[in-house]
């Protein structure tokens, strides 16, 4: 097996997904055109061509605490990577599938609890979840297999606000296959895209310097700048609020050359 940390650094891993089985992975594989990475043989690992989206499927034979660490190494994920755990679950009091964010994880065997961040998640429906099956099944309880171990490991590795524990809860009386596949897909697509966009917004707030730095890199790639102009550009960008930069990006991309970019930024600072 290839040494995990020696992967090339030319890409930035933006999103890592963890699921429990192939049926949960299918949506992500199709939506992001993920391909299996056969050189990683401990877990099924997938990534897209750009290598900015990665996915791992938990294995019953391996402790779930290993999954996040292994995926982090394979994907070369950094502190700015968004982590999304996704699983299907069942609730008796539903008529239609519901996308839910988990804000309290209960390890019922030891009665330990973990509390995923809820920053900026007020628009989503939220509930608690058990990490293992309950002896006396409460019909209003969500069970997400392995989630306690996975979250406990993840919260030590990455920024807590960028870990999202998500589930698509189905009406309990139905089997997964009974529910219209289209409905499931459209719910997944809608909410997972929303979470991904939200996490992108959150990263600007959490890592403003990196945003400015990445912005500089992007602009430098798109336009030609002399060394002097690069310095001017760098100094100009440092004076910007990252959100103002984000709002200006579309306009800047329409400009013709580096000089125009610099003049535009100068004017914006006046």
């Amino acid at each position: 097996m290839e040494k995990l940390n020696s992967t090339d650094n030319k890409y930035i891993c933006e999103y890592c997904f963890i699921v429990n089985n192939i049926s949960e992975a299918r949506f992500f594989i199709n939506r992001f055109s993920l391909k299996p990475k056969k050189k990683y043989n401990l877990f099924p690992i997938f990534s897209n061509k750009k290598k900015d989206i990665w996915l791992a499927i938990n294995q019953d034979t391996i402790s779930p605490t290993v999954t996040p660490i292994y995926l982090k190494n394979c994907a070369n994920a950094n502190e700015q990577t968004t982590w999304i755990f996704f699983s299907f679950s069942f609730l008796s009091n539903l008529n239609l599938p519901h996308f839910i964010i988990i804000d309290e994880i209960i390890d019922s065997s030891a009665q330990n609890k973990l509390y995923p961040s809820v920053s900026c998640l007020k628009k989503f429906k939220r509930k608690n979840a058990f990490s293992n099956e309950q002896k006396f099944q409460n019909q209003d309880c969500i069970t997400l297999k392995n989630i306690y171990e996975i979250y406990k490991t993840l919260e030590k590795l990455v920024n807590k606000a960028l870990i999202f524990v998500t589930t698509l809860s189905m009406p309990e009386k139905y089997e997964l296959s009974d529910i219209d596949n289209k409905t499931i897909k459209s719910e997944q697509n809608k909410f997972i895209t929303e979470i991904m966009n939200l996490s992108d917004e959150m990263k600007i707030t959490i890592f403003p310097f990196f945003y400015v730095f990445n912005f500089f890199k992007k602009i430098k790639e798109e336009f030609k700048f002399s060394v002097y102009e690069q310095n001017v550009l760098e100094n100009l960008l440092k004076q910007f609020n990252p959100y103002d930069l984000k709002n200006n990006l579309k306009f800047i991309k329409k400009l013709k050359n580096g000089k125009q970019v610099i003049n535009h930024l100068k004017q914006k600072l006046l």
Binding site: D103, E104, K113, Y115, S117, V118, S119, C120, L121, K122, R126, N128, E155, K156, V158, N159, K160, A161, M202, T205, I206, P208, F209, V212, K238, Q239, F240, N241, P242
Partner: protein, 332 residues
């Protein structure tokens, strides 16, 4: 609107907890063992939480009242501070809490009685000495008053003694507990103030300077003692004009007979806090002026600090009777 409230199991039936929860009927309530499971954990983002803060209700078990840092005081021989809450609803760019905590969520300790017990113990221990107790160090004393009712409780139950002064430091307009009570010599309501042009840039989500001055006027008109806290003093090329205008406006508006004290402290940060906060605001003008590092504290150069403080002191002296107490406040 606070969307989520975490409540420690131990105080889930506390009357104050129930009263606070009753004000947030639509919020999701999650019961926790200890507030430290949520608050100030590693790998959290202060700036992100500031966008959407949640509330934590907890019981404080020790360190109710702490010794104030060296250089923090308004004339008493002993200075202590207490905080019934950590963090603040305002978002001042220079606020040291941003660097102190990794969490911007509001943490309210509901066992107010224990704060007063410790104050009483300290008064007994320091018998005969003059003591000031400051509220508003880790939070704004009054900004969350509508939720916490801390000032209401305090005014009903505090220990009166001629040697003791209590200062409520604030930028808030929530002064109703004082308006409903008789004024007392022991309590000062002290307002942190910045010139309007500075406040518009740096005092984010804070009541305007004009409204703060209006509150000061209201308090003095009822006989409450007030304090003026020009802390931090912030530098820019027009600082003299700005501070002159601010000080003149205030002194023209309020009844000087009730001015207890004035204090000045220039902008300063402990080293670690400076690096954390300045990284939160890349390119912000607040941090673009040259700071100097002295004894692990980042501040303006000595001569700048001295010039600013003496300029403002002179403005005060010109207008105010001589016995008003003026202090330089330079903790850390």
């Amino acid at each position: 609107m606070i969307n989520t409230i975490y409540v420690e199991n131990e105080i889930k039936d506390h009357l104050r907890t129930l009263s606070i929860l009753s004000k947030f009927k639509r919020s999701r309530v999650i019961y926790i063992h200890k507030y430290s499971e949520i608050f100030n954990k590693k790998k959290q983002s202060f700036r992100l939480q500031k966008k959407d803060p949640l509330l934590i209700l907890a019981k404080k078990n020790n360190n109710f009242v702490l010794k104030a840092p060296e250089g923090f005081g308004i004339g008493a021989s002993e200075n202590y501070y207490f905080s019934h809450m950590y963090n603040c609803i305002y978002d001042c760019k220079y606020c040291f809490l941003q660097g102190l905590y990794s969490s911007a969520n509001y943490l309210v300790f509901v066992n107010y009685e224990d704060f007063l017990t410790q104050i009483k113990n300290l008064v007994t221990r320091n018998k005969g000495k003059s003591i000031t107790f400051f509220s508003g160090y880790d939070c704004d004393s009054l900004a969350m008053e509508k939720v916490t009712n801390f000032a209401v409780f305090f005014l009903k139950n505090y220990l009166q003694s001629k040697n003791i002064t209590y200062e409520f430091r604030t930028k808030s307009l929530q002064i109703h507990p004082f308006l409903k009570n008789e004024p007392t010599e022991n309590i000062i309501i002290a307002y942190s103030l910045l010139p309007e042009d500075f406040a518009n840039k740096f005092d984010v989500k804070v009541p305007s300077i004009n409204l703060r001055i209006k509150s000061l006027k209201q308090l003095t008109s009822l006989g409450w003692k007030i304090g003026l806290r020009f802390d931090p003093l912030i530098y820019n090329k027009n600082w003299k004009i700005s501070y002159k205008e601010l000080i003149n406006t205030i002194l023209n508006e309020i009844d000087m007979n009730y001015l207890h004290s004035v204090s000045f402290g220039s902008l300063r940060f402990p080293k670690q806090i400076f690096s954390t906060i300045s990284n939160m605001y890349p390119g912000d003008e607040l941090f673009s002026y040259n700071f100097e590092k002295r004894d692990n504290v980042y501040s303006y150069k000595d001569e700048v600090e001295e010039e600013m403080i003496s300029f403002c002191k002179n403005l005060i002296h010109k207008k105010v009777k001589k016995d008003v107490q003026i202090f330089s406040c330079t903790p850390y």
